[in-house]
């Protein structure tokens, strides 16, 4: 009961890898978008805001299909990627990471934006008067002060990535060992006779992973927050 079957191990490790890579790759982009939305003032800001939040409100199948059209081997971006770098995301785990990253992006960008908006700009002004350049202010004041939000955003995005189903199965299909993440494996078991017990085991694993991620984020965010507010 306590040991995982090879299928379970494969699905779990793949899920973690997909979630981790997807989260880490979209982190800088989410930070940039959060910055543009919180601090920028430009035409089309509301449009960008809507675009970022689309994956949250659209059916995941729509996202998956859009990715397939754009990043498929014959899609405009996919074809260019393949011709230029010999790199493709079609029907492999990188595609799964891309799909889950897109789905997790709104949560991540939103948490970062909120934390950035909460940063006291007067502290940044004080740092400027002490001789710090904009760049130094960003690294020494803004980023540390918004770190709990970055962490929360990353964990939320990661949890969302690990659980992603609709966009992934539409975009990169359900290939064991390549794109069959935990939820996809679970779905596969429910489609065959006698698949309920292994499906149930995967359910438990999914719950454990999600809970661990949430607990970890709580603990680390609280510690960071205390550090920032200077309470021992």
């Amino acid at each position: 009961m306590l040991t995982l079957t090879p299928v379970e191990t494969e699905a779990l490790l793949l899920s973690l890898r997909v979630g981790l890579v997807g989260t880490l790759c979209s982190l800088p982009l989410a930070l940039l978008v959060a910055w543009l939305l919180a601090r920028g003032r430009f035409v089309g800001q509301q449009l960008l805001n809507g675009l970022v939040h689309l994956p949250l409100v659209l059916p995941p199948v729509v996202i998956g299909f859009a990715l397939l059209v754009l990043f498929g081997r014959r899609g405009p971006i996919g074809a260019w990627l393949y011709d230029t770098f010999g790199f493709t995301v079609a029907f492999n785990w990188k595609g799964a990471a891309l799909a889950s990253a897109v789905m997790g992006f709104p949560l991540m960008a939103r948490a970062m934006r909120l934390s950035l908006e909460a940063v006291d700009r007067r502290l940044e002004a004080a740092a400027r008067t002490l001789g710090a350049s904009r760049w130094r202010v960003f690294w020494t004041i803004t980023l540390p002060l918004m770190s709990p939000g970055i962490l929360t955003g990353a964990i939320l995005g990661f949890a969302r990535s690990v659980g992603e189903f609709g966009a992934t199965i539409t975009f990169v299909s359900n290939i064991p060992g390549e794109t069959q993440t935990l939820p996809l494996a679970l779905y596969a078991f429910t489609q065959v006779p006698g698949g309920d017990p292994p499906a149930f085991r995967l359910c438990v694993i999914a719950v454990i992973v999600a809970m661990a991620a949430l607990l970890a984020s709580e603990v680390v965010a609280r510690r960071l927050d205390r550090r920032i507010r200077g309470v021992p």
């Binding site: 002004a125 008067t129 002490l130 710090a132 540390p144 002060l145 309470v231 021992p232």
Partner: protein
């Protein structure tokens, strides 16, 4: 010199401030809240970009709209001490102090820490400092960045009276020990008189007057701005003698000597006195048989055009070469009975003086009220 000539539109508020102040000692920007004092300081620091104008400190142009010069705040080398301290919560006290510190002078850190009494706080976080401690750290942090000018925006406004007394000596000490010019924003006249050399009166986004504290506080037309309740004159004196027998000290000013209880300072120490208008009694003839010994002959210079029961008179009790202005507040009735008019000779009797002791050699500056004898 500190040259400011800025125009800016901030919502409904129009700022059009122009003044020149010496870049030595403490210059106070004084005015009601909302007069535009903070905006002026922000324009100096580069945190506010004026629509038009010029800002220069010690001949270096920081902002000039015509020549398209606008140094960013981090290149202006102006220390800024904010009302709320603005310490970085995620740094220790030491980290805050060192944030902008220049490493040109290795001993500077220890000296500033000693001067501001921060030795025991270095490892603490801003979160568990008292308001007064926070402001001391903020002052130290700004000084360690080696600014050519310190800007202080009501650094005491958020503190209670006891904490204010904790900080004031340190600010007074800046003048003596560090020789950094200071622009000090305040709406409290007692702080201004205690600290400032030059006074800039700000009203409705404009500069109403610039001059020495002594000159501006003695002008009737500025009374609505300098404050009626605190009405009084500021006189510069020098400690000239000690009367060991009666335990008195003598303070000389052009036109006479004031006797106050013994002051334990060396002869020759310059001392600034503040004499409230309500503490001055007038007599039309030289007083006789009175316990007040501080009586000075003078002349009425000006009578405030006031309709209330009280009237303020400006007197000159100095010499023809060096006039010394004094205010007296008497009733309209007394004014009529004594038949006082502009030019009338009069004798002024001083009951109490408030002594502003500048900090000789960088020690603590203190302010105390003294009965005058």
């Amino acid at each position: 010199m500190i040259e400011v000539d800025v125009e800016a539109k901030l919502g409904d508020f129009a700022l059009a401030a122009k003044f020149v102040a010496p870049s030595a000692g403490i210059t106070a920007l004084f005015g009601r809240s909302g007069a535009g004092k903070t905006s002026i300081v922000n324009a100096l620091a580069g945190l506010l970009t004026p629509a038009r104008g010029r800002v220069a400190v010690r001949d270096e142009v920081l902002f000039d709209s015509e020549r398209r010069i606008n140094l960013p705040p981090n290149q202006r080398r102006l220390g800024y001490i904010f009302q709320e301290g603005r310490l970085f919560p995620h740094y220790s006290v030491k980290g805050n102090l060192l944030y902008g510190a220049k490493r040109t002078d290795a001993g500077a850190f220890d000296r500033i820490v000693a001067l501001l009494g921060l030795g025991d706080l270095l490892r603490r976080r801003p979160g568990d400092l008292s308001g007064g401690e926070k402001q001391r750290v903020a002052i130290g942090r700004a000084i360690l960045a080696e600014p050519r000018l310190l800007l202080m925006d009501e650094p005491l406004a958020a503190l209670d009276a006891a904490r204010k007394e904790e900080i004031l000596p340190f600010i007074a000490a800046l003048r003596g020990a560090l020789d950094i010019p200071v622009v000090y924003v305040s709406h409290a006249m007692d702080e201004v008189i205690r600290l400032a050399d030059t006074l800039v009166l700000v009203d409705g986004g404009k500069i109403a007057a610039t001059g020495t504290v002594e000159a501006l506080t003695s002008r009737i037309d500025l009374r609505p701005l300098t404050g009626r309740f605190e009405a009084g004159a500021v006189i510069r004196t020098v400690l000239r003698g000690h009367d060991k027998v009666y335990g008195l000290s003598e303070l000389a000013f052009p036109g006479g000597r004031l006797r106050v209880p013994h002051i334990d300072l060396p002869l020759g120490t310059p001392l600034r006195l503040r004499i409230h208008a309500r503490d001055v009694v007038l007599a039309s003839a030289a007083p006789n048989g009175l316990s007040i010994r501080n009586a000075f002959a003078g002349r009425v210079i000006e009578i405030s055009p006031d309709n209330g029961p009280l009237v303020d008179l400006r007197l000159d009790i100095g010499t023809p070469a060096e006039p010394v202005m004094l205010w007296a507040r008497i009733t309209q009735r007394a004014l009529a009975d004594l038949r006082l008019a502009v030019g009338s000779p009069v004798h002024a009797l001083v009951k109490t003086v408030a002594l502003e002791r500048p900090s000789p050699g960088g020690g603590r500056g203190v302010s105390e009220a003294h009965e005058a004898y």
